[in-house]
Protein backbone atom coordinates (compact mmCIF):
# COMPACT_ATOMS: atom_id res chain seq x y z
CA UNK A 1 0.00 0.00 0.00
CA UNK A 2 1.71 3.16 -1.15
CA UNK A 3 0.17 6.51 -1.83
CA UNK A 4 1.82 8.61 -4.53
CA UNK A 5 4.38 11.20 -3.50
CA UNK A 6 3.05 14.72 -3.30
CA UNK A 7 3.13 16.90 -6.39
CA UNK A 8 6.23 19.08 -6.57
CA UNK A 9 5.97 22.53 -5.11
CA UNK A 10 5.86 25.52 -7.40
CA UNK A 11 8.36 27.31 -5.16
CA UNK A 12 11.65 28.33 -6.69
CA UNK A 13 14.58 25.90 -6.63
CA UNK A 14 16.76 26.68 -3.65
CA UNK A 15 13.83 27.40 -1.38
CA UNK A 16 14.35 24.82 1.38
CA UNK A 17 10.60 24.45 1.82
CA UNK A 18 10.31 23.49 -1.83
CA UNK A 19 11.90 20.12 -1.12
CA UNK A 20 9.73 19.35 1.89
CA UNK A 21 6.61 17.35 1.10
CA UNK A 22 3.51 19.32 1.96
CA UNK A 23 1.56 17.91 4.90
CA UNK A 24 -1.80 16.23 4.38
CA UNK A 25 -4.79 16.79 6.63
CA UNK A 26 -7.76 14.44 6.67
CA UNK A 27 -10.82 16.61 6.06
CA UNK A 28 -13.15 13.90 4.83
CA UNK A 29 -15.64 14.23 7.64
CA UNK A 30 -15.95 17.96 7.15
CA UNK A 31 -16.49 17.63 3.40
CA UNK A 32 -18.95 14.77 3.83
CA UNK A 33 -20.90 16.80 6.37
CA UNK A 34 -21.09 19.82 4.09
CA UNK A 35 -22.05 17.65 1.14
CA UNK A 36 -24.76 15.75 2.94
CA UNK A 37 -26.77 18.92 3.45
CA UNK A 38 -27.29 19.31 -0.25
CA UNK A 39 -30.36 17.65 -1.82
CA UNK A 40 -29.65 15.23 -4.64
CA UNK A 41 -30.04 16.80 -8.08
CA UNK A 42 -31.06 13.95 -10.35
CA UNK A 43 -31.50 16.20 -13.35
CA UNK A 44 -27.85 17.18 -13.04
CA UNK A 45 -26.89 13.53 -12.63
CA UNK A 46 -28.72 12.57 -15.81
CA UNK A 47 -27.19 15.50 -17.68
CA UNK A 48 -23.73 14.44 -16.53
CA UNK A 49 -24.10 10.96 -18.04
CA UNK A 50 -25.87 12.11 -21.20
CA UNK A 51 -23.13 14.62 -21.86
CA UNK A 52 -20.44 11.97 -21.51
CA UNK A 53 -22.31 9.88 -24.07
CA UNK A 54 -22.38 12.80 -26.50
CA UNK A 55 -18.67 13.44 -26.00
CA UNK A 56 -17.98 9.78 -26.59
CA UNK A 57 -20.11 9.57 -29.72
CA UNK A 58 -18.37 12.54 -31.27
CA UNK A 59 -14.85 11.35 -30.42
CA UNK A 60 -13.09 11.14 -33.76
CA UNK A 61 -10.27 8.97 -32.44
CA UNK A 62 -12.43 6.03 -31.42
CA UNK A 63 -13.63 3.22 -33.68
CA UNK A 64 -17.34 2.49 -33.90
CA UNK A 65 -16.91 -0.71 -31.90
CA UNK A 66 -15.04 1.13 -29.15
CA UNK A 67 -17.81 3.71 -29.05
CA UNK A 68 -20.54 1.08 -28.90
CA UNK A 69 -18.93 -0.67 -25.97
CA UNK A 70 -18.38 2.50 -24.00
CA UNK A 71 -21.82 3.91 -24.82
CA UNK A 72 -23.43 0.67 -23.64
CA UNK A 73 -21.68 1.00 -20.29
CA UNK A 74 -22.84 4.60 -19.89
CA UNK A 75 -26.38 3.71 -20.90
CA UNK A 76 -26.44 1.08 -18.17
CA UNK A 77 -25.51 3.79 -15.68
CA UNK A 78 -28.26 5.98 -17.06
CA UNK A 79 -30.78 3.12 -16.85
CA UNK A 80 -29.90 2.56 -13.23
CA UNK A 81 -30.48 6.21 -12.52
CA UNK A 82 -33.86 6.06 -14.27
CA UNK A 83 -34.81 3.00 -12.21
CA UNK A 84 -34.04 4.88 -9.02
CA UNK A 85 -36.20 7.75 -10.11
CA UNK A 86 -38.48 6.51 -12.91
CA UNK A 87 -40.62 9.62 -13.09
CA UNK A 88 -37.70 11.98 -13.07
CA UNK A 89 -39.42 13.89 -10.29
CA UNK A 90 -36.45 14.51 -8.09
Amino acid sequence: MSRPPGPPSDRRPGDPEAEEPAPIADMRKEFARKSSREPRDREAERAFLKNKIEILRSDRKLSESEKEEAVAALLRELDRLEEEDPDGRS
Binding site: A25, R28, K34, I53, E54, I55, L62
Partner: protein, 314 residues
Amino acid sequence: MTNSPDTPVPTPNTDQEPSAPHSDERETFRPAVDYRPDERAEQAFLASKVHIARTHPTLHPAERQATLTELAERLGEPALGLRDREDAPTPGGVGYGVFYNTPFKTGFAQGTSLYWEVICPTAPGGNVNTWLYLTAMNRAGKGLEAFVSYYAQDAPRFKVFDWARDDHWQIDIPWSSLGSYLMTRSAHGQNYQALGVWNSTWQLSPNLWRNQALLWNQAAQRYDLIYQYDYAAALADQTGGWIGSWGPIVETFQPSYSHTNRFGALRTMLITRDSGGSWGSWQLLSSGDSYIRTDNTGFRSVFLDPNYAFAVES
Protein backbone atom coordinates in the same frame (compact mmCIF):
# COMPACT_ATOMS: atom_id res chain seq x y z
CA MET B 1 0.01 17.69 -66.89
CA THR B 2 -2.26 19.18 -69.58
CA ASN B 3 -5.11 21.64 -69.49
CA SER B 4 -8.50 21.31 -71.10
CA PRO B 5 -9.32 24.21 -73.45
CA ASP B 6 -12.33 24.98 -71.20
CA THR B 7 -10.50 24.73 -67.89
CA PRO B 8 -7.35 26.76 -67.79
CA VAL B 9 -6.49 25.40 -64.36
CA PRO B 10 -3.85 22.70 -64.21
CA THR B 11 -5.28 19.23 -63.64
CA PRO B 12 -4.70 18.07 -60.07
CA ASN B 13 -2.02 15.48 -59.62
CA THR B 14 -3.56 12.10 -58.92
CA ASP B 15 -2.45 8.51 -59.01
CA GLN B 16 -4.17 8.17 -62.37
CA GLU B 17 -3.03 9.05 -65.83
CA PRO B 18 -0.95 12.20 -65.80
CA SER B 19 -3.07 13.74 -68.57
CA ALA B 20 -6.55 12.40 -67.82
CA PRO B 21 -9.13 13.42 -70.41
CA HIS B 22 -12.13 15.56 -69.51
CA SER B 23 -15.73 14.66 -70.21
CA ASP B 24 -18.71 17.01 -70.06
CA GLU B 25 -21.27 15.30 -67.76
CA ARG B 26 -23.29 18.36 -66.86
CA GLU B 27 -26.45 16.90 -68.32
CA THR B 28 -26.05 13.78 -66.20
CA PHE B 29 -25.83 15.80 -63.02
CA ARG B 30 -28.51 18.38 -63.85
CA PRO B 31 -31.39 18.16 -61.34
CA ALA B 32 -34.46 16.29 -62.54
CA VAL B 33 -37.51 18.35 -63.52
CA ASP B 34 -39.42 17.09 -60.48
CA TYR B 35 -36.55 17.75 -58.12
CA ARG B 36 -37.67 19.03 -54.72
CA PRO B 37 -35.10 20.58 -52.48
CA ASP B 38 -34.72 19.06 -49.03
CA GLU B 39 -35.44 22.20 -47.07
CA ARG B 40 -34.38 20.71 -43.76
CA ALA B 41 -31.04 19.58 -45.18
CA GLU B 42 -30.44 22.93 -46.79
CA GLN B 43 -31.26 24.78 -43.61
CA ALA B 44 -28.98 22.44 -41.69
CA PHE B 45 -26.20 23.26 -44.15
CA LEU B 46 -26.66 26.98 -43.64
CA ALA B 47 -27.07 26.59 -39.89
CA SER B 48 -23.82 24.67 -39.76
CA LYS B 49 -22.00 27.47 -41.54
CA VAL B 50 -23.42 30.00 -39.10
CA HIS B 51 -22.46 27.77 -36.19
CA ILE B 52 -18.91 27.41 -37.45
CA ALA B 53 -18.58 31.16 -37.84
CA ARG B 54 -20.08 31.85 -34.43
CA THR B 55 -17.89 29.35 -32.62
CA HIS B 56 -14.70 29.23 -34.66
CA PRO B 57 -11.90 28.44 -32.18
CA THR B 58 -9.22 30.56 -33.84
CA LEU B 59 -11.26 33.69 -34.52
CA HIS B 60 -11.48 36.58 -32.10
CA PRO B 61 -15.01 37.70 -31.20
CA ALA B 62 -14.74 40.70 -33.53
CA GLU B 63 -13.63 38.45 -36.38
CA ARG B 64 -16.52 36.10 -35.67
CA GLN B 65 -18.94 39.01 -35.83
CA ALA B 66 -17.44 40.15 -39.12
CA THR B 67 -17.82 36.64 -40.49
CA LEU B 68 -21.44 36.49 -39.33
CA THR B 69 -22.10 39.81 -41.01
CA GLU B 70 -20.61 38.47 -44.22
CA LEU B 71 -22.77 35.36 -43.98
CA ALA B 72 -25.87 37.49 -43.43
CA GLU B 73 -24.99 39.42 -46.57
CA ARG B 74 -24.35 36.26 -48.56
CA LEU B 75 -27.10 34.01 -47.20
CA GLY B 76 -29.69 36.48 -46.01
CA GLU B 77 -30.40 37.68 -42.48
CA PRO B 78 -32.76 34.75 -41.67
CA ALA B 79 -29.85 32.36 -41.95
CA LEU B 80 -28.45 33.76 -38.72
CA GLY B 81 -31.59 32.68 -36.92
CA LEU B 82 -31.15 29.05 -37.87
CA ARG B 83 -29.18 28.20 -34.79
CA ASP B 84 -30.60 26.50 -31.73
CA ARG B 85 -33.36 24.68 -33.55
CA GLU B 86 -35.54 22.56 -31.34
CA ASP B 87 -34.59 19.46 -33.30
CA ALA B 88 -30.89 20.14 -32.97
CA PRO B 89 -28.88 17.35 -31.35
CA THR B 90 -28.11 17.44 -27.65
CA PRO B 91 -25.23 19.90 -27.45
CA GLY B 92 -22.85 17.89 -25.29
CA GLY B 93 -19.21 18.37 -25.98
CA VAL B 94 -15.76 19.52 -25.20
CA GLY B 95 -15.35 23.26 -25.44
CA TYR B 96 -11.63 22.79 -25.23
CA GLY B 97 -9.36 20.38 -23.46
CA VAL B 98 -6.88 17.57 -23.37
CA PHE B 99 -7.34 13.86 -24.00
CA TYR B 100 -4.69 11.23 -23.30
CA ASN B 101 -3.21 9.27 -26.17
CA THR B 102 -3.95 5.55 -25.89
CA PRO B 103 -0.42 4.42 -24.94
CA PHE B 104 -0.38 6.98 -22.14
CA LYS B 105 -3.94 6.24 -21.05
CA THR B 106 -3.00 2.61 -20.56
CA GLY B 107 0.57 3.20 -19.44
CA PHE B 108 0.37 2.43 -15.72
CA ALA B 109 0.27 -0.77 -13.71
CA GLN B 110 -0.41 -0.25 -10.02
CA GLY B 111 -1.42 3.36 -9.87
CA THR B 112 -1.79 6.74 -11.50
CA SER B 113 -2.19 10.21 -10.08
CA LEU B 114 -3.05 13.63 -11.45
CA TYR B 115 -2.45 17.10 -10.10
CA TRP B 116 -3.78 20.18 -11.83
CA GLU B 117 -4.77 23.70 -11.02
CA VAL B 118 -8.19 24.63 -12.31
CA ILE B 119 -8.58 28.16 -13.67
CA CYS B 120 -12.02 28.78 -12.25
CA PRO B 121 -13.57 32.23 -12.09
CA THR B 122 -16.25 32.73 -9.47
CA ALA B 123 -18.80 33.47 -12.19
CA PRO B 124 -18.75 31.88 -15.64
CA GLY B 125 -19.98 35.05 -17.33
CA GLY B 126 -21.23 35.33 -20.87
CA ASN B 127 -24.19 33.30 -22.04
CA VAL B 128 -23.73 30.24 -19.82
CA ASN B 129 -27.29 29.18 -19.02
CA THR B 130 -26.89 25.53 -18.06
CA TRP B 131 -24.12 23.30 -16.75
CA LEU B 132 -20.46 23.74 -17.57
CA TYR B 133 -17.77 21.57 -15.99
CA LEU B 134 -14.04 22.02 -15.50
CA THR B 135 -13.00 18.44 -14.96
CA ALA B 136 -10.21 15.90 -15.45
CA MET B 137 -9.41 12.27 -14.78
CA ASN B 138 -6.16 10.57 -13.82
CA ARG B 139 -6.43 7.89 -16.57
CA ALA B 140 -7.91 5.17 -14.37
CA GLY B 141 -11.20 3.85 -15.74
CA LYS B 142 -12.60 3.54 -12.24
CA GLY B 143 -11.00 6.75 -11.07
CA LEU B 144 -12.90 9.86 -10.10
CA GLU B 145 -13.71 13.30 -11.36
CA ALA B 146 -13.07 16.04 -8.82
CA PHE B 147 -14.35 19.08 -10.64
CA VAL B 148 -15.75 22.59 -10.68
CA SER B 149 -19.38 22.65 -11.74
CA TYR B 150 -21.11 25.78 -13.00
CA TYR B 151 -24.81 26.13 -13.53
CA ALA B 152 -25.96 29.23 -15.37
CA GLN B 153 -24.58 32.30 -13.58
CA ASP B 154 -24.83 30.76 -10.13
CA ALA B 155 -21.77 30.48 -7.95
CA PRO B 156 -19.97 27.27 -8.89
CA ARG B 157 -19.76 24.14 -6.76
CA PHE B 158 -16.98 21.65 -6.25
CA LYS B 159 -18.06 18.05 -6.81
CA VAL B 160 -16.68 14.53 -6.82
CA PHE B 161 -18.07 11.88 -9.15
CA ASP B 162 -16.59 8.45 -8.43
CA TRP B 163 -16.68 6.06 -11.39
CA ALA B 164 -15.90 3.11 -9.09
CA ARG B 165 -19.18 3.28 -7.20
CA ASP B 166 -22.83 2.78 -8.01
CA ASP B 167 -23.67 5.87 -5.98
CA HIS B 168 -21.29 8.01 -7.99
CA TRP B 169 -22.03 11.45 -6.58
CA GLN B 170 -20.11 11.90 -3.38
CA ILE B 171 -19.05 15.48 -2.74
CA ASP B 172 -20.98 18.64 -3.52
CA ILE B 173 -19.55 21.73 -1.87
CA PRO B 174 -20.71 25.32 -2.30
CA TRP B 175 -18.16 27.85 -3.46
CA SER B 176 -18.56 29.77 -0.25
CA SER B 177 -16.87 26.90 1.59
CA LEU B 178 -13.78 26.94 -0.61
CA GLY B 179 -12.21 30.22 0.43
CA SER B 180 -9.17 28.52 1.97
CA TYR B 181 -8.54 26.61 -1.22
CA LEU B 182 -8.69 29.34 -3.82
CA MET B 183 -5.39 30.87 -4.88
CA THR B 184 -4.08 33.30 -7.44
CA ARG B 185 -1.84 31.92 -10.15
CA SER B 186 -0.01 33.90 -12.78
CA ALA B 187 0.35 32.66 -16.33
CA HIS B 188 1.38 34.51 -19.47
CA GLY B 189 1.20 37.84 -17.68
CA GLN B 190 -2.29 37.35 -16.33
CA ASN B 191 -3.53 36.45 -12.86
CA TYR B 192 -6.10 33.70 -12.51
CA GLN B 193 -8.14 32.34 -9.65
CA ALA B 194 -7.23 28.69 -9.33
CA LEU B 195 -7.98 25.57 -7.32
CA GLY B 196 -5.33 22.84 -6.87
CA VAL B 197 -6.84 19.37 -7.32
CA TRP B 198 -4.96 16.12 -6.75
CA ASN B 199 -6.67 12.85 -7.51
CA SER B 200 -5.10 9.43 -7.28
CA THR B 201 -5.95 5.81 -7.99
CA TRP B 202 -3.69 3.02 -6.84
CA GLN B 203 -3.68 -0.65 -5.99
CA LEU B 204 -3.68 -1.50 -2.29
CA SER B 205 -3.39 -5.23 -2.82
CA PRO B 206 -4.18 -7.56 -5.72
CA ASN B 207 -7.63 -6.57 -7.03
CA LEU B 208 -8.15 -3.93 -4.36
CA TRP B 209 -7.84 -0.29 -5.39
CA ARG B 210 -8.23 3.12 -3.77
CA ASN B 211 -9.50 6.41 -5.15
CA GLN B 212 -8.54 9.63 -3.41
CA ALA B 213 -9.25 13.31 -3.95
CA LEU B 214 -7.30 16.07 -2.26
CA LEU B 215 -7.42 19.83 -2.51
CA TRP B 216 -4.52 22.20 -2.01
CA ASN B 217 -5.34 24.32 1.03
CA GLN B 218 -3.72 27.62 0.17
CA ALA B 219 -4.42 29.15 3.57
CA ALA B 220 -2.87 26.27 5.51
CA GLN B 221 -0.23 25.36 2.90
CA ARG B 222 -1.15 21.70 2.95
CA TYR B 223 -3.20 19.14 1.04
CA ASP B 224 -6.58 18.28 2.46
CA LEU B 225 -7.85 14.78 1.89
CA ILE B 226 -11.52 15.28 1.10
CA TYR B 227 -12.59 11.92 -0.29
CA GLN B 228 -11.42 8.30 -0.35
CA TYR B 229 -12.94 5.02 -1.49
CA ASP B 230 -11.57 1.45 -1.66
CA TYR B 231 -13.03 -1.06 -4.09
CA ALA B 232 -12.43 -4.28 -5.96
CA ALA B 233 -11.12 -3.98 -9.51
CA ALA B 234 -8.68 -5.53 -11.91
CA LEU B 235 -5.96 -3.67 -13.78
CA ALA B 236 -7.92 -4.12 -17.01
CA ASP B 237 -10.81 -2.19 -15.44
CA GLN B 238 -8.45 0.72 -14.92
CA THR B 239 -6.53 0.79 -18.17
CA GLY B 240 -9.25 -0.37 -20.58
CA GLY B 241 -12.20 1.53 -21.98
CA TRP B 242 -12.86 5.16 -22.66
CA ILE B 243 -13.56 6.39 -19.16
CA GLY B 244 -10.49 8.11 -17.79
CA SER B 245 -9.21 9.28 -21.16
CA TRP B 246 -9.68 12.99 -20.55
CA GLY B 247 -7.26 15.29 -18.84
CA PRO B 248 -8.38 18.83 -18.08
CA ILE B 249 -11.38 19.74 -20.22
CA VAL B 250 -14.00 22.45 -20.40
CA GLU B 251 -17.06 20.24 -20.70
CA THR B 252 -19.93 22.01 -22.40
CA PHE B 253 -23.71 21.64 -22.49
CA GLN B 254 -24.68 24.36 -24.94
CA PRO B 255 -24.22 24.62 -28.69
CA SER B 256 -22.31 27.86 -28.47
CA TYR B 257 -20.71 30.16 -25.93
CA SER B 258 -19.87 33.83 -26.05
CA HIS B 259 -18.31 36.41 -23.76
CA THR B 260 -17.53 33.97 -20.98
CA ASN B 261 -14.72 34.47 -18.52
CA ARG B 262 -11.53 32.49 -18.92
CA PHE B 263 -11.35 28.84 -17.92
CA GLY B 264 -8.44 26.45 -18.10
CA ALA B 265 -5.74 24.42 -16.43
CA LEU B 266 -2.28 25.07 -15.03
CA ARG B 267 0.55 22.76 -13.96
CA THR B 268 -1.15 19.57 -15.11
CA MET B 269 1.09 16.75 -13.91
CA LEU B 270 0.81 12.98 -13.72
CA ILE B 271 2.78 10.25 -12.03
CA THR B 272 2.79 6.53 -12.73
CA ARG B 273 3.19 3.51 -10.48
CA ASP B 274 4.81 0.55 -12.21
CA SER B 275 4.17 -3.18 -11.89
CA GLY B 276 6.77 -3.42 -9.14
CA GLY B 277 4.85 -0.93 -7.03
CA SER B 278 7.26 1.98 -7.47
CA TRP B 279 6.05 5.46 -8.23
CA GLY B 280 7.97 7.33 -10.90
CA SER B 281 8.37 11.10 -10.85
CA TRP B 282 5.80 13.77 -11.56
CA GLN B 283 5.82 14.87 -15.19
CA LEU B 284 4.06 17.77 -16.80
CA LEU B 285 1.52 16.50 -19.31
CA SER B 286 3.23 16.62 -22.69
CA SER B 287 1.93 16.91 -26.23
CA GLY B 288 3.48 13.52 -26.90
CA ASP B 289 1.14 11.91 -24.40
CA SER B 290 -2.01 13.83 -25.19
CA TYR B 291 -3.90 15.84 -27.75
CA ILE B 292 -6.21 18.83 -27.78
CA ARG B 293 -9.87 18.40 -28.60
CA THR B 294 -12.18 21.29 -29.36
CA ASP B 295 -15.73 20.90 -30.59
CA ASN B 296 -16.15 24.46 -31.83
CA THR B 297 -18.57 25.62 -29.19
CA GLY B 298 -17.16 29.12 -29.22
CA PHE B 299 -14.08 28.78 -27.05
CA ARG B 300 -10.79 30.02 -28.36
CA SER B 301 -7.35 29.50 -26.94
CA VAL B 302 -5.80 32.37 -24.97
CA PHE B 303 -2.63 30.36 -24.48
CA LEU B 304 -1.51 26.77 -24.62
CA ASP B 305 1.63 25.35 -23.04
CA PRO B 306 1.49 21.95 -24.72
CA ASN B 307 -0.33 20.34 -23.07
CA TYR B 308 -0.02 21.02 -19.36
CA ALA B 309 -1.54 24.49 -19.25
CA PHE B 310 -4.12 26.40 -21.21
CA ALA B 311 -6.70 29.11 -20.91
CA VAL B 312 -9.71 29.63 -23.13
CA GLU B 313 -12.37 32.27 -23.49
CA SER B 314 -15.33 32.88 -25.74
